[in-house]
C-alpha cells in the first residue's frame, strides 16, 4: 500500500489543482496548519492561482495551467511548506464566539434520545455535555456555510447512522464522530439530529454570504421552543457574536 509516511504531502487534484495535506486523520494542529497555510497562500498571491480553500486537515489550490506548470506550482508549494513548521501555526485572526440558542430534543429534533443512548448518556447528560463548552469551526464545507464543529468529548465518538435520515431542516444541529454539523439548507444525512436552531448560515444576496469562518467558536445554549420561535424573525436566529481575544 503506497501511503506516504511523511506529512505534509503535496498531491495533484484533478488537472488544475493541488492538495497540501497535513495529517491522515483529524487533529487540532493539522487543522490549524491547513488554515494557516491557506492564509499564507493567499498572501503569496501567485499569479496563476485562481482559488484557495481548506478542509479539515488540508489546503487546496486551484490554478490556471496556462499560467504556471504543475512543476512550478509544486515547487512553490514545497518551498512555502519548508518555510516554517505549520503545525505550530496559531489560529486565524478575527475569530468570533457565537452564542447560539437551540431547542434540544422534542419533535423539533427527534434523535436526541437515540444519540444520547449511543453515547452512553441520558438525554439530560447529553444536553449538558453539548452545551458545557464551546466547539470550534474546524472547516466549512459540503454545503454553503456549513460548519463542522469540534472536538466533542470522547463519549461522542459515535458512528453515523447506516441509514440516512431522508431530510433534516435548515438549522438542524446533528452529531457523529465527535463533531457537530449545523445545516444551512435542508439535507439528507447520516448524522443524528439532536437540536434545532434558526441560525441562517448562508446569505447569497449579501456581500458576506457565509456567516461562519473556520476558527470561530460556537457555544450552544439550550432554550425552550417558545424562545426559539420568538427568534425566528432574526436572520441569526438569536445567535450573538463577540470577538475572541
Amino acid at each position: 500500500m503506497a501511503i506516504a509516511s511523511e506529512w505534509p504531502r503535496i498531491s495533484a487534484l484533478g488537472t488544475d489543482g493541488f492538495l497540501v495535506t497535513f495529517a491522515d486523520r483529524l487533529n487540532e494542529p493539522a487543522n490549524r496548519a491547513a488554515l494557516a497555510f491557506r492564509h499564507a497562500l493567499d498572501r503569496e498571491g501567485w499569479s496563476a492561482v485562481e482559488e484557495t480553500s481548506t478542509s479539515l486537515v488540508s489546503a487546496y489550490l486551484r490554478f490556471d495551467p496556462r499560467g504556471s506548470s504543475h512543476a512550478e506550482i509544486r515547487e512553490n508549494l514545497a518551498h512555502l511548506l519548508s518555510r516554517e513548521n505549520w503545525l505550530d501555526a496559531p489560529l486565524p485572526q478575527g475569530r468570533r464566539l457565537w452564542r447560539v440558542p437551540a431547542v434540544f430534543g422534542t419533535e423539533m429534533a427527534p434523535q436526541l434520545e437515540e444519540a444520547a443512548q449511543a453515547a452512553g448518556l441520558t438525554p439530560k447528560e447529553a444536553i449538558a455535555s453539548l452545551t458545557r463548552s464551546p466547539v470550534r469551526v474546524q472547516t466549512i464545507g459540503f454545503a454553503p456555510g456549513q460548519p463542522y464543529l469540534g472536538e466533542l468529548p470522547p463519549a461522542w465518538d459515535i458512528p453515523r447512522q447506516s441509514k440516512l435520515t431522508s431530510q433534516v431542516p435548515a438549522g438542524a444541529l446533528a452529531v457523529a464522530i465527535r463533531q457537530l454539523v449545523l445545516f444551512p439548507v435542508p439535507a439528507p444525512t447520516g448524522w443524528r439530529h439532536v437540536a434545532q436552531t434558526c441560525f441562517q448560515l448562508f446569505h447569497p444576496d449579501t456581500d458576506e454570504p457565509f456567516v461562519l469562518r473556520p476558527g470561530d467558536e460556537l457555544q450552544v445554549e439550550s432554550v425552550g421552543a417558545e424562545t426559539l420561535e420568538r427568534m425566528k424573525a432574526d436572520p441569526n436566529g438569536g445567535a450573538r457574536a463577540e470577538a475572541i481575544r
Partner: protein, 342 residues
C-alpha cells in the same frame, strides 16, 4: 420594452445555467453551472457570443416557449425533438424564433441535457456572480409554466441558419483519468481491474454525479481505510462503500470522505454528464503531461468552433430529408416590416 421568453410549459428539470460560480469552495459552495460545458460553448459559437452566456439547460425534456419579439436561438447538447409552429427544427443549429411563434422542445433522443440558447442570453439577476440555478443549495429553481425570462440585448452578429457538427458524447466511451491524492490507496490489481473493466451508468445520477456499476472490478479499498474529508472537484471518481465508482459532476458538494481513485479530465466530462442509465464506459489513466496536452487541444478546438459553422441551407441536393428542415430559418420571418409599421 424588455425582451422576454415566456415559459408556456416546462419539463421538471429546466434551469438557467452558465459557467457557474467559481471561487466559493472555502464557503462550502461548489461552482455548479452547466452539466455539459461543451454544449454551452457550441451554443455560444452558433450565436457568436461569449461562452459564459446563460442558457436554458433541459434535463431529459424541454417545454414550450414563446418570445416577446424576434429572437435568435440555438439548440445544442442532447438532441431533442424540436419544432417551431409545428415545423421540425434541426438540432445543433441556430434559428430565428419569431415573436409569438411557438417553440416546442420534447424529450431527448439521446443523452440527458439539451440546451436552448438565446441571442443576448438569459438576463436574470446574477447571484454571487452567476445566473446558474444550484438546486441543492437553494439558489434559483427549476423553471415553471408562466415564468417570463428577461433576455439580453442581441447585436445579432452571426445571424441564424448555421449549424455545427457536434463532438459525439451521448454514447459513453473512454473516460481519461489522472491520478490524485488517494490513487495510491488502491492496489496495482485494483488499478488494473479499474482500467480493464467495462462500467455502466447506474440509474442513480443527477447534476451532482453519477454512479457506475460493474460486475468485474473489485475496487473496495482494503485495510478499512478511512479518508479524512477533503476538497472534492467535478471529475473526481469516488469509490463508495460497495466498491462502485461515483463520478462527480458540476453540482457536486465541496468536500467528501470517500477515497478517490482518480479524476476524469474536464475534456471528457461531457461524455459522463450526457450518459443515460446503461451507457458503457471504460477508464484509462493518462499522465499529467498527456492530460495537459489533451486539455490544451480541447480548449483550442472549442475556441475555433465558430470557424466550423456551416450554413443550414448550404446544399439542398445533399439534404436527403429536405422536407424535415425548417427552410425559412436564417431568413426573416417574413412580416418584420409589417410589424415595425404596426
Amino acid at each position: 420594452m424588455t425582451r422576454t421568453l415566456t415559459v408556456k410549459r416546462a419539463g421538471p428539470g429546466v434551469t438557467v445555467q452558465d459557467l457557474g460560480r467559481p471561487g466559493h469552495l472555502a464557503g462550502g459552495l461548489s461552482r455548479g453551472g452547466a452539466a455539459d460545458r461543451l454544449a454551452l460553448a457550441e451554443g455560444a459559437a452558433l450565436l457568436g457570443q461569449d461562452a459564459g452566456t446563460a442558457a436554458l439547460e433541459m434535463a431529459g425534456a424541454g417545454g414550450e416557449f414563446e418570445a416577446s419579439e424576434d429572437m435568435r436561438i440555438a439548440l445544442t447538447g442532447a438532441p431533442m425533438r424540436a419544432s417551431l409552429d409545428g415545423t421540425p427544427l434541426v438540432w445543433d443549429a441556430s434559428h430565428l424564433l419569431p415573436r409569438g411563434g411557438r417553440l416546442k422542445i420534447g424529450g431527448c433522443e439521446a443523452g440527458c441535457y439539451g440546451y436552448l440558447h438565446l441571442g443576448g442570453g438569459v438576463a436574470t439577476d446574477p447571484l454571487l456572480g452567476s445566473r446558474s440555478a444550484h438546486l441543492g443549495t437553494g439558489l434559483g429553481r427549476a423553471l415553471q409554466s408562466g415564468d417570463r425570462l428577461p433576455v439580453g440585448a442581441d447585436p445579432g452578429l452571426r445571424g441564424t441558419g448555421q449549424r455545427l457538427d457536434p463532438a459525439a458524447r451521448c454514447e459513453g466511451g473512454t473516460l481519461r483519468v489522472v491520478a490524485g491524492p488517494q490513487t495510491g490507496l488502491f492496489t496495482p490489481e485494483q488499478i488494473r481491474a479499474f482500467e480493464n473493466s467495462t462500467f455502466r451508468r447506474d440509474v442513480r445520477g443527477n447534476r451532482m454525479g453519477m454512479r457506475l456499476i460493474s460486475d468485474a472490478a473489485e475496487l473496495k479499498p482494503g485495510g478499512g481505510l478511512t479518508v479524512v474529508s477533503e476538497v472534492i472537484v467535478p471529475g473526481d471518481i469516488q469509490i463508495t462503500g460497495d466498491g462502485s465508482p461515483f463520478v462527480l459532476l458540476s453540482e457536486c458538494q465541496t468536500t467528501g470522505g470517500y477515497p478517490r481513485i482518480g479524476s476524469v479530465l474536464p475534456a471528457d466530462l461531457p461524455l459522463a454528464a450526457q450518459a443515460r442509465p446503461g451507457t458503457a464506459f471504460r477508464f484509462q489513466f493518462v499522465t499529467m503531461e498527456e492530460a495537459m496536452q489533451i486539455e490544451h487541444l480541447e480548449q483550442e478546438r472549442r475556441q475555433k468552433l465558430s470557424k466550423s459553422l456551416r450554413p443550414l441551407l448550404r446544399d439542398p441536393r445533399a439534404m436527403f430529408n429536405l422536407l424535415s428542415y425548417q427552410l425559412i430559418s436564417g431568413a426573416t420571418s417574413g412580416d418584420d416590416l409589417e410589424r415595425e409599421n404596426r
